[in-house]
Amino acid sequence: MKNVIAALTAVAALAFAGGALAANTGTLSVSHDPTVLAGSKSTTIHVSLPQADQPIAAISIYAPSGYQTTLSQAAGTTIGTVDATAFSHTAGLVLPLSGNVVTADPASFADKSAQCTGSPTSAAVWVLNLSVAGQTIQLPVYVNPTAGPEQALGAEKISVCLPPWDVPESLGGAAQGAQVLDVRFTVNGIFTTPTSGGLLEWDGLFTPYTPGTGKPNPTGTFEARGFVPLPVVLGLRPTYFSKSNTFRLSGKLTEGGLALPSLTVHISRGIKPTRLTQQSSTRSKADGTYRTAGHLHPRKTTYFRINASMPEHDFAAGCQNPAPATVAPAGCVSAKLSAWSVKSAVLKLNVPAAKKHHEK
């Protein structure tokens, strides 16, 4: 396919030459599964870059302090998966790419690491294997602890460098004129969430190229933030009213200590804790509390669980106190709160056995 796409280069070059480029508006979002303190098995980092943006040269993502990071995996270990979307300017197609995230020996990436991070050594190198139709683009990710003034942005720095899509491949441009639009990669067993909660701020710095030159434009560097609310708490308190054989469920929903208003809560129940079925739903009030009630049928001890999910969403207040202009001259352009899906614990609602009436 590479040959085919290369064969269409001339057409694509004509089609896209001279197009006006809009301001940059990339986003960063980070999520964990499960969404708990001092734990979590997996971390998903989602970067989105609109097609109308300028080509991006480098992305630096800073993990906030408080996380424990494990980077001791042997080279060649599969630590996660990646899904991405890229626009091939040579073919004019949006292409889905997917594959594994595999650790690599940092020594074998010394030159590339030096080009991307300024240092030939990295604490860890993860390779994102982006495959489509039998072809794979390997995108190295460099992971390093921060030092000096960079520590103000976070404790660990994750660096990715991208070739420009608007420069011919022969001059160092991206293969197939590929413009990355969206990357979502998950790593397992790397990050352990902090022991104290709140809104954990992951900071992203995006440096564009000066269009058509293949040269990074540091003055265009912008900031995008991803906030992880920890913990997400779905409060659940079941109460039974024997006289009316009804139950009431109540509780409060919070993410990172903030109330969750207008959130749909799905309620599952059953007479066995391992066999619960979703039977109803309710919505939280402005203060994050909810209350719902219903008849209990059958009249037996019943188990309840609630679950709720939140898609990745904008955080209006997230760009307050942006990074200084010396770090991100183009300012903070976006802030996202992470997606999550959480289930409460299963709670038991004891129902006393009904009194038997004996006829005399």
Binding site: I5, L8, V11, L93, L95, A133, G134
Partner: protein
């Protein structure tokens, strides 16, 4: 995406192709080979051979040496323009290629001293055969193999390009050798954004129903049972309309994902030789009584003959559900078990899907597979109009055995990659922020009234697929 692989046995043969260069009227030189029977004087008829896309005339020489020369035929094969070491630009069987065929025909007729000349072409070469016949090149019999009658519906059925396949095919010839008109049309075709130029090019390279009716040249159509480039319908359109003697052989040979068993070659080319014997030499061998022949898949050395297009029945099943499909890799997967069987798909099958809340989700691809099988049965795609509605996707007409009791799995996404990373038929995805909610799907599956292919034991299967030598 695997290309068509034709497999040849490496048996010794007496005829040796003579390499030669022929100059066309515009000065372009074509690299050719002439194969004569042994002794050459026994040649009482000839066959012109046309290779596939990205191929060269040497690809066709085994047909000349192993099947045609022993039967007393001379054979002429040339690199098409833009191919091999021939000069000129790749024109995708355009007007200049037709002119070449006419000039080569004249040269060949003079060289062998007879106008009892037929033509056999594979894929692109099959298109060359159709276009030449339609333009009046006086072939006495033709055998177009695994090719198109309507190029646009083959490459972009329902207006949605088989983008991965189109890209693969386009790469088989360097763009430096393309006719600029083709190059100009290629991107609009690949992206499905503008099919107007591709439609114009296709119209000049396809045969309409009216044109087929006017063709009296005896035609043996050979089409792949399981071919995602040129499906069975491309040949059925010709079979239904041709005005002269005709027969249809549905083979295990074809473009991806056809198995191309080498053991079928003698059956396929043996039938082609009989066709030429009947209509070039006048041999009363009964081949003209053949109507439709279906090779079994997997190839077991047998075929089933029909007196016309095989009768089919329709199996309709619902695949309920509600799935929000988001982004380039989002997909909905539904499965269903079809009662009875084994079945063998044949004819026009459709998938109808209700959809709503479409946001930038502008097209939908369906892939149908047997559960646990990597190679899908068929696929299709269509553009979505509006935020909600009903999409009807016509699946390619593929003849595929569906074992009894197996579940069918339907994949719905913006690409065929949702079924398998190796299924690069439709690779054009939607934007990352696109989404659509897919509701109930209905599969209307057309199957043979009676399945004829059978499951082979592993040993028999290995034997039937035995490979002795291979050429692209």
């Amino acid at each position: 995406m695997a290309a068509l692989a034709l497999v040849w046995s490496a048996s010794a043969n007496a005829a040796t192709p003579q390499q030669l260069t022929l100059t066309m009227s515009d000065g372009a030189q074509l690299a050719c080979s002439l194969t004569l029977p042994d002794p050459p004087a026994t040649a009482t008829a000839g066959v012109m051979l046309f290779h596939g896309l990205g191929g060269r005339h040497q690809d066709m020489e085994p047909i000349a040496t192993q099947f045609l020369a022993p039967a007393g035929y001379a054979a002429l094969a040339c690199d098409a323009r833009g191919h091999g070491v021939s000069q000129g630009q790749f024109g995708l069987d355009g007007p200049r290629d037709v002119a070449d065929t006419r000039e080569l025909y004249d040269w060949f007729a003079t060289r062998i001293g007879t106008q009892q000349i037929g033509a056999l072409g594979i894929s692109l070469g099959g298109g060359a055969v159709w276009n030449a016949v339609e333009a009046g090149v006086p072939f006495k019999a033709v055998v177009p193999i695994i090719t198109w009658t309507n190029l646009l519906t083959a490459l972009a059925p329902q207006g949605l390009s088989k983008s991965g396949l189109v890209q693969y095919l386009a790469g088989l010839v360097p763009t430096s050798r393309w006719d600029p008109q083709l190059l100009a049309a290629s991107q609009g075709l690949t992206t499905s954004a503008d099919l107007s130029q591709a439609a114009a090019l296709s119209a000049a390279r396809s045969v309409t129903t009216a044109e087929l009716r006017a063709i009296r040249t005896p035609t043996l159509l050979v089409q792949g049972r399981h071919d995602f480039l040129f499906d069975v319908d491309q040949a059925l359109a010709a079979y239904r309309s041709l005005g002269g003697p005709k027969a249809l052989y549905l083979s295990d040979v074809g473009h991806t994902p056809a198995p191309n068993p080498p053991a079928e070659q003698p059956s396929l080319y043996g039938m082609a030789v009989k066709w030429f014997d009947r209509f070039l030499k006048g041999t009363q061998n009964g081949i003209d009584r053949t109507k439709v022949v279906l090779a079994h898949d997997p190839w077991d050395g047998k075929t089933t003959a029909y007196t016309g297009i095989p009768q089919t029945k329709r199996v309709t099943v619902n695949l309920p559900g509600s799935t929000t499909v988001a982004g380039a890799t989002g997909k909905a997967v539904r499965s269903v078990r079809i009662t009875g069987g084994p079945h063998e798909t044949f004819g026009d099958s459709t998938v109808t899907v209700r959809y709503s809340n479409a946001k930038s989700f502008d097209h939908l691809v369906a892939v149908l597979a047997v559960q646990g099988t990597a190679t899908p049965i068929s696929a299709g795609g269509t553009k979505l109009k509006g935020a909600s509605g009903t999409a009807t996707i016509r699946l390619m007409d593929e003849a595929v055995r569906v074992p009894a009791g197996k579940k069918l799995v339907l994949y719905l996404s913006s690409t065929s990659l949702a079924q398998s990373p190796s299924n690069a038929l439709y690779i054009s995805a939607v934007q990352p922020d696109a989404s659509v909610t897919l509701g109930k799907a209905t599969l209307k599956l057309s199957v043979l009234k009676k399945a004829v292919s059978r499951r082979l034991a592993a040993r028999a299967l290995r034997s039937s697929l035995a490979t002795k030598g291979q050429t692209e």
